[in-house]
């Protein structure tokens, strides 16, 4: 009887933990697909998460000397940040969170850029510039309403 109860408890824990395990093991492609299919107000968090993942990948790839792959990951950071910002602006939700996420990613990119050879810095600087433009757009949306 006791072992049946233990097994039932184990199954319950497994069932409760499943969504979290699923979220952690989700591939980037799955995450992006989920973001694309999500409601617009849920998209900022999902796309920000995808951008942050690619930022980690870019850092790792640069450290491993895989510059071309790293640059592709940096391009993804910009693309997903762009989508997160657009969704935040369109829905008017998660504006501050998205702005903070974009600001932090720009900070990380600056840190990465300093570790690179001069000839590899340009695409990272372009990405930083784009993220700063996105921040401006988010801030405009946050503070622009009252100016009309």
């Amino acid at each position: 009887m006791s072992s049946t109860r233990s097994f039932a408890t184990f199954l319950l824990i497994l069932a409760l933990a499943a969504p979290f395990t699923l979220a952690r093991d989700e591939t980037l492609q799955q995450l992006v697909e989920r973001a694309g299919a999500a409601r617009v107000e849920d998209q900022p968090a999902l796309y920000s998460s995808a951008a942050e993942r690619q930022l980690k990948s870019a850092d790792k790839l640069y450290t491993e000397g895989k510059v071309e792959e790293a640059q592709a990951a940096v391009a993804d950071v910009v693309s997903y940040s762009d989508k997160a910002s657009s969704a935040a602006i369109q829905s008017g939700k998660k504006l501050k969170n998205t702005e903070i996420a974009v600001r932090r990613m720009a900070a990380k990119l600056r840190d990465i850029k300093r570790s690179l050879a001069f000839e590899d810095q340009s695409p990272v600087q372009t990405a930083i510039d784009r993220l700063e433009t996105l921040r401006t757009q988010l801030l405009t949306k946050m503070f622009g309403k009252g100016t009309k």
């Binding site: 980690k56 900070a107 700063e132 801030l139 009252g146 100016t147």
Partner: protein
């Protein structure tokens, strides 16, 4: 928010979001170079640079020679926040790598508390100049949030690292 005040906040936010320069100086970047494998030294340097920006902020608030004080303070706050974000990112990076950063983490936590106290005191003194304050109010609120969240996260990480150290699951510094 009144239209004029909102416009003031908007313009100042746009100006500063569009700054693309590096918040660190060349000598500071040189000091950080090649410290990626030395968490203690690297985090110590970041704390030092962040503290310097906060000191510059207080100076801008009190310096009678500063003409556009709102703008100057906003500039210093942005620099502080940018470098604090980098400090925080570096802590995350070492934590992900399972580096034993308990020693520098204690320094970071002490600094978080110091930064929080100074920022709160700064805010208390700043609110008296209302028009000026509006120019950097949003950024100051972000800085206080960042440091508050940082303090909480760093304390949590230290406790996790203490636990991991008991099970010898951390990479010791060289």
């Amino acid at each position: 928010m009144k239209p004029f005040a909102a416009a003031l906040v908007l313009v100042s936010c746009m100006v500063f979001a569009q700054r693309h320069g590096d918040p660190l100086t060349t000598p500071e970047i040189d000091q950080l170079r090649d410290t990626a494998q030395e968490p203690e030294l690297r985090l110590k340097l970041y704390v030092q640079f962040t503290r310097a920006r906060l000191d510059a902020l207080t100076q801008a608030q009190n310096d009678p020679k500063v003409t556009d004080r709102g703008q100057a303070i906003h500039d210093k706050l942005q620099d502080f926040l940018d470098i604090y974000d980098e400090l925080d990112d570096n802590v995350d990076m070492y934590a992900d790598r399972r580096n034993d950063i308990r020693k520098p983490l204690k320094l970071v936590i002490g600094s978080d508390t110091e930064f929080q106290t100074k920022l709160r005191a700064f805010k208390d003194a700043a609110v008296t100049a209302k028009e000026e304050f509006r120019q950097y109010e949003f950024l100051l609120s972000n800085a206080l949030d960042a440091v508050g969240n940082g303090l909480q996260d760093h304390r949590q990480l230290l406790s996790e690292q203490e636990e991991a150290a008991k099970n010898k699951r951390l990479i010791k510094p060289k």
